[in-house]
Point group: C2
Chain length 624, copies 2
Amino acid sequence: MPQITFAPLGNSVRVEPGTPLLDAAKRAGVALAAECGGKGTCGGCLVLIESGKAAGDFADFLPGEAAGEGYALACRATAGDGDLVVRLGAETGAETGTKAGQFASGLHRQVLPAAELSPLVAILPLLVDAPKPMDGLGDLERLTRALANRTGAASVQCPLEILQTLPRALRQTDHPLACAVHRRGDCLDIVSLDPPPRPLGLAVDIGTTSVAVELIDLNSGAVLAHDAGYNDQTARGADVISRINYAGRPGGLAALRELVLATVNRLLAACLERIEAEPGAVLAASLSGNAAMTHLALGVDPEFIRLAPYTPAALAPAMMSAKETGLAIHPRAPVLFAPAVGSYLGGDVVSGLLLTPLAENAPEPRLFIDIGTNGEAVLGGEDYLFGCACSAGPAFEGGGLTRGMRAQAGAIEAVRIDPGTGEIGLSVIGGGKPLGVCGSGAIGAAAGLFRAGLLDAGGRLGGHADSARIVRDGRKSRFVLARPDESADGRELALTEADIENIVRAKAAIYSGCQVLLDQAGLAFADLAEIIVAGGFGHYLDVEDAIAIGLLPDLPRDRFRFIGNASLAGSSLTLLSEKHRRARAALAGRLTYLDLSLEASFMDAYTAALFLPHTERERFPSAK
Amino acid sequence: MPQITFAPLGNSVRVEPGTPLLDAAKRAGVALAAECGGKGTCGGCLVLIESGKAAGDFADFLPGEAAGEGYALACRATAGDGDLVVRLGAETGAETGTKAGQFASGLHRQVLPAAELSPLVAILPLLVDAPKPMDGLGDLERLTRALANRTGAASVQCPLEILQTLPRALRQTDHPLACAVHRRGDCLDIVSLDPPPRPLGLAVDIGTTSVAVELIDLNSGAVLAHDAGYNDQTARGADVISRINYAGRPGGLAALRELVLATVNRLLAACLERIEAEPGAVLAASLSGNAAMTHLALGVDPEFIRLAPYTPAALAPAMMSAKETGLAIHPRAPVLFAPAVGSYLGGDVVSGLLLTPLAENAPEPRLFIDIGTNGEAVLGGEDYLFGCACSAGPAFEGGGLTRGMRAQAGAIEAVRIDPGTGEIGLSVIGGGKPLGVCGSGAIGAAAGLFRAGLLDAGGRLGGHADSARIVRDGRKSRFVLARPDESADGRELALTEADIENIVRAKAAIYSGCQVLLDQAGLAFADLAEIIVAGGFGHYLDVEDAIAIGLLPDLPRDRFRFIGNASLAGSSLTLLSEKHRRARAALAGRLTYLDLSLEASFMDAYTAALFLPHTERERFPSAK
């Protein structure tokens, strides 16, 4: 049987020829994003075949030259007769801004099959009757009648700016007239009579630490460009509470609003430049974020989110125009906001659920975990759906770590530590010397140190083994991942005990939150049919490492599924599909919020989880 | 029987004691505005008892001191035992800006009984539930629920600017919260959470020559202030066609838009100052104008109104915000536009019809004539309603006359010429020496000259009689109404033959338009149960004078009713009442436009009417 090795993690597995590489990855303990369920449409499982030759029909699902350059979709490529080395992750994903990331942008990943599209703004080619004498109709009335006949809408709203262009548009345009419209129930709003040949939509995930955007072709549903970066607000506080406090200062709210708008507009501008499009070509936007981020982006005071009884100004802000929101797109573009369930269970989670069977009341119990600065978990089954917030802090996004950074070029994304020799091996995004460590690198380092005996259950470096890379400085210790001569900037790159404490607190918050959620339903982790993990780790997560530190429960590895930035993907789905817009609104209504701070058992569960992997070792039988 | 004399016209009549003065006026050939139908609420028939003592309960319908100062409402005051001299018109009306005009403003004329009010923007006192833990509702959702419960609205729109103020408004305001809302079908738009104690509405009539505005208390329906003036656009062309041509020049459209907005905003500012209110207190507006005026006010190119097939950009522009329109009122105030029937039968006429039985399909045939620069006539009965435009030119608004002016202080509003001596008597608005002549003065002068034999049927001065006031200057003659020492500005004030020609053309256009309209229905003037005349003459018109020159047909005088500026009154009604908004939309749909330029008979009828009073003298048996 051929051996399939996944770089840079090094996990390998032997499989029968013909086995899809996606299944091989799963059996090797590697979770790959596969939003489309293996149909070859989403592009989430793009990999690079570094050595050997893959079989299967994957070439048909890639643009012209890509297969020849060694790219494959893991869901469509299968193991052949010989061994394969398959490179995963950021180097082949769109997250990085690297050459491979550019390629992935060129993939035109489909969010939805074109046949299922009902975008927030649709371009209708319209035949409008010519003006006739004494027909009792003005230009507006003829346009309105044509739109009503075409769509069945009961009322049509034409803003003044469009009315001002209407007489010439109706007389100069060769028919049919392209009419960009936004439908709200029985009402149709005219957005433009002069839409670009390739109308675009903007999908956004506004995270507390990171912001991600996608530009989508509204006609085809294809993702044309993607970018992500830190939220500029992070300089004004690492977490939601410190941002809310900052907003209370004079001018603070306006400053935070400007910072997040600057972030989104900068990422958007980079995407537009890459595909050579103008801001005015973006005719619709869909934004997902937690309640505090949504408030700050809208310039709405989030103070009462922080104060009992924790009532936000709006769970579901109304659709509004881009001009009102300050997004640098077409001023009349409608902007849709994901509905929150409560102050601490936000629209980002509700959007993310769209990617999971929880949106469809699947009968087996499933857990959805969104790992971010505000970790959230949702437990769902046939007739229940409830969720909680488990504030993890920004460690898994590279925030709050001495040398933390986003999963982009220069970031250590995986760490191997030889338990015998203590020798380390680093995988750096984009190759070359490292500049910092991202979330998956930090998890890999902690897991590696723990496995090698260099980190004890209490999070102290040293322990029973020792290593030349552990440096003691008074009572504080650090583990040197790269000495000054090994790093990109000539500075030592270390993981400190304080960094490890942040990682441990983050994983404890998430694990214990999930545990209490299951307790409430009278379930144990083992009862779960599936655990679906979302978050901004890039496109892969080493499940073994995550279990080794106690972030994820010790379950059979094939019960885990990793879906990447689900909040962003949910933004895209709702940008493109009325079905998903309705489904998301229904999800927000069905989902019940469980306030962990009111659960007596939570503090005990959290404290017990502040060890590696856990105080109760029996919870992690496979940990060495 | 006591004799009632009406100044300044001098008409008098003997009536039984107890006869309402309004009836006495009608029998004396004087049409007084009485929109409310004699209920004592509209104030349109305000008069000043100059000598004698009136009976009746009129004092109850006037503010405190007014009855003591000699004011009365002609509909509620009756003839007593002795003779009366009753002063009519501009000196007691609101048009003038004089002391009496101010008084009339202080009358708080009711547009509608308060019980029938359903204003475009209503102030709802609202009890909003306090925030509760875990109730699954944000501030917006609690407000929306309270509004939906209160109004039955299916959806509530809260603009971002209001959402930004919502958290504090809900927590700081003593309940109930005053919520200013605008309803469109099942949808409710929140206009303000901080409405003024006296919320105002703005009613506007945008005429080609004149613009009139009213400020109305939305809570009570009372008119608080009124003003009118020339449309600043008149400097860019006297009629609709020249305005449309001007709009076609580079920058012309924008210039015309600015001019009419400046006019409305200036009149509005004067009204606001008078009642000591701020622009932000005006929460709704209702505008009526013909199609061209509406286009120009909105900055929409009116070019295609002028070109076959005469299709305007919009017959019924959508409701829009004051901010979009450029009105200097609350930026979120909704602005309603009167729907037009066609390019030349505008929303001003449709608004005006609301004041007449034609709006209610009354069975007897009735004619509605709106005398303005664009004269319009509508003929209606039980199952038909059709109308035409008869372009009169601005003469009846004082425009296009050598010394023409609006009906305001200094204008000659009535002229008496002694047929024996040729001596003239002038009535000047506000008293003192005259500055110019307004529409009613011009009609009075022409009628007086014709009666005295100083003007022949062809419009030539001199004729068989002569007068020292007729000055010949080569082939042109003029009639001197005031010599330099008799006029306010020391310049001669004369009516020229060219002025008379303008008056004759204007009256011929209106009379012949009405005639062709009746012909189409197989009716004659004598078949009409009522002729309702609207227009900007001030508050009265001497029916005898109007018949003498052939402007109005020679029918029994009690078939005429004069209702003043009906377009403005219709704007006010639709500002205040959903019933009238619906009725007006229905009227626009029912009304059929008859294009006189397509009627072969029109040119003959017009030509025949270019004589005083008419070529067919048998049409005017009572003319001397």
